[in-house]
Amino acid sequence: MRLFDPHIHMTSRTTDDYEAMHAAGVRAVVEPSFWLGQPRTSPASFLDYFDSLLGWEPFRAAQYGIAHHCTLALNPKEANDPRCVPVLDELPRYLVKDQVVAVGEIGYDSMTPAEDTALAAQLQLAADHELPALVHTPHRDKLAGLRRTLDVVRESALPPDRVLVDHLNETTVKEAKDSGCWLGFSVYPDTKMDEERMVEILRAYGTEQVLVNSAADWGRSDPLKTRKVADLMLAEGFAEDDVDRVLWRNPVAFYGLSGRLTLDIATPESTHEGNSILRGAPKDPEGPVGAPSEWDDPTGAPAPGA
């Protein structure tokens, strides 16, 4: 079983989590930039965080055989702090990076005018950079928040089929589905969705354009929820193909809209095999499909992309 967690904050997790996720079948994650719990007070701390999502965190993930991409944005909560808003001016140079597969998470927290401005501006940034957008829906006053979100999306340059609205539940799924957006569900131990309700929603609304994530972060959450949903789907009569669609092919299709999803991972074997990232046979049990690369024999290997 291959699993893709399309929304998880690995910065807040340990290497034990990476190890357990790999053992559970997770082979790819997308880490949206978000609020770190402690409020930031300047754009500089956003930039260090973005750099971490483009440098250190993918390196950590690769050590555990997991491909890591990110989505970058000014999150809704901190969009309300004028000291943080100038990070919007820095975003364009980050949104061109290879590992950025969407703008996100954007959306509403308290539904303030400042959040309106940041959401609209960042939907435009997504359109400008040919990226899809990951839109968080609020915890409080969720249905009203979803409706306002969808209104702003409709007025934006970004078509709904390039927008993922996340943290949906029974009260918001129908309107979200009718909008043509992709549907994200976060499965939590206590709040948001749980496995049983998730399976019921899949039964009622189908698997098309549905993504399931753990949204695991620094709060009470579980980075193995993707696997638990997959197991329950199978137990409840869904086919393996359904599981693969929801937990692999749908996130690959959505984030693949960026043209930047690379599910090959460069595992730094040095850290667990005393070997080099620059040499040695691949650990891929299937073996390499292509011919070995030889410097002095350009014809020895088929040119990728040819």
Partner: protein, 313 residues
């Protein structure tokens, strides 16, 4: 104009007689060879059936998890073939750009090759800084998805060279770059910066725990300019983090009869031995450089395949 076919900005006399191939290159297979390259993942890729503008191998049945079989995360059952650089070790730093361009061009698909030529012409025609981000810097950012991740390092080195990036420019690209872009800047330093002005980048990379950056930091530029204290610590850090010392340029020359390095290696060996841990194989190799008559500090049979814990702390 073919920008990278001229004389390298700083011809590296040390490299003249070197083979193109690193000692390890012959054994380095290229698992990413079957991947669709970034040539297929630019704008327009969205239209592909299935909607996946995926630069890598999005679906490789058989390479994913085998439930219950994953004793060692990362050791097997990976998401797909690794996108290891096609140009291993110090090759990028030691190969003259013209030769590198020929090598890379021969491996790119039609679209990626056209993109690269355009990017290099553009960089040669409009070097320097203009606007919030220069066009050649944008090309560096997108090189992975255009050329494929295994060719990104080489493409970035060539773009930096075509733009004739000076110490200020490489510093900006490094500090505004992803880890992959920073690695490419480190590889490009010997081609671009004739003096020690870019040493702060090497020092920054050596402070990280990212083995990809460490390996790129200990190339020929560091060999030439890093002071003895920092250079010894860099070698030791390679041993600590499991970066093979083959990545260290001019290791034999700089380590030759370095008694202080020998002392540090001996202390490190004693510390590992006291803890009941195996010594990295490379430790003996470096020790032999420092003193050809040195006796290994511990039986070689103690050497494990793991060697280190992959980090310093």
């Amino acid at each position: 104009m073919t920008p990278s076919r001229g004389t390298p900005a700083t011809p590296d006399a040390d490299t003249k007689d070197r083979p193109l191939t690193d000692p390890q290159a012959g054994t380095a297979s290229r698992p990413g060879a079957d991947s669709p390259s970034g040539a297929e993942s630019g704008p327009g890729a969205e239209a592909r059936p299935g909607g996946e503008g995926v630069a890598g191998t999005e679906a490789r049945p058989g390479t994913e998890a085998r439930p219950g079989a994953e004793g060692r995360p990362g050791a097997e059952g990976q998401a797909g073939a690794e996108s290891r650089p096609d140009t291993p070790g110090t090759t990028l730093a030691l190969t003259p750009p013209a030769e590198l361009r020929a090598h890379l061009t021969a491996r790119l698909g039609t679209a990626a090759r056209a993109w690269l030529h355009r990017a290099l012409d553009e960089a040669a025609a409009h070097p320097g800084t203009h606007g919030p981000i220069s066009v050649w810097e944008l090309r560096i950012a997108e090189a992975g998805r255009r050329c494929g991740p295994e060719h990104a390092d080489a493409a970035r080195v060539l773009i930096l060279h075509a733009a004739r990036a000076d110490a200020d420019a490489v510093t900006r690209v490094y500090f505004q770059g992803t880890a992959a872009e920073r690695r490419a800047v480190l590889h490009a330093l010997p081609h671009l910066v004739p003096g020690p002005e870019a040493l702060p980048l090497v020092e920054d990379a050596l402070r990280t725990n990212d083995t990809r950056l460490l390996a790129a930091a200990v190339g020929p530029y560091a060999a030439r300019y890093l002071d003895p204290h920092q250079w010894r610590h860099a070698v030791l850090k390679c041993l600590f983090t499991g970066v093979p010392v083959d990545a260290v340029a001019d290791l034999d020359r700089r380590a030759h009869r370095d008694a202080e390095l020998a002392r540090m290696l001996g202390d490190y060996a004693a510390e590992r031995t006291a803890a009941g841990r195996p010594l990295p194989e490379d430790l003996h190799r470096v020790l032999t450089f420092t003193d050809p008559t040195a006796t290994p500090p511990a039986p070689a049979a103690d050497c494990g395949t793991r060697g280190t814990d992959g980090k310093e702390s």
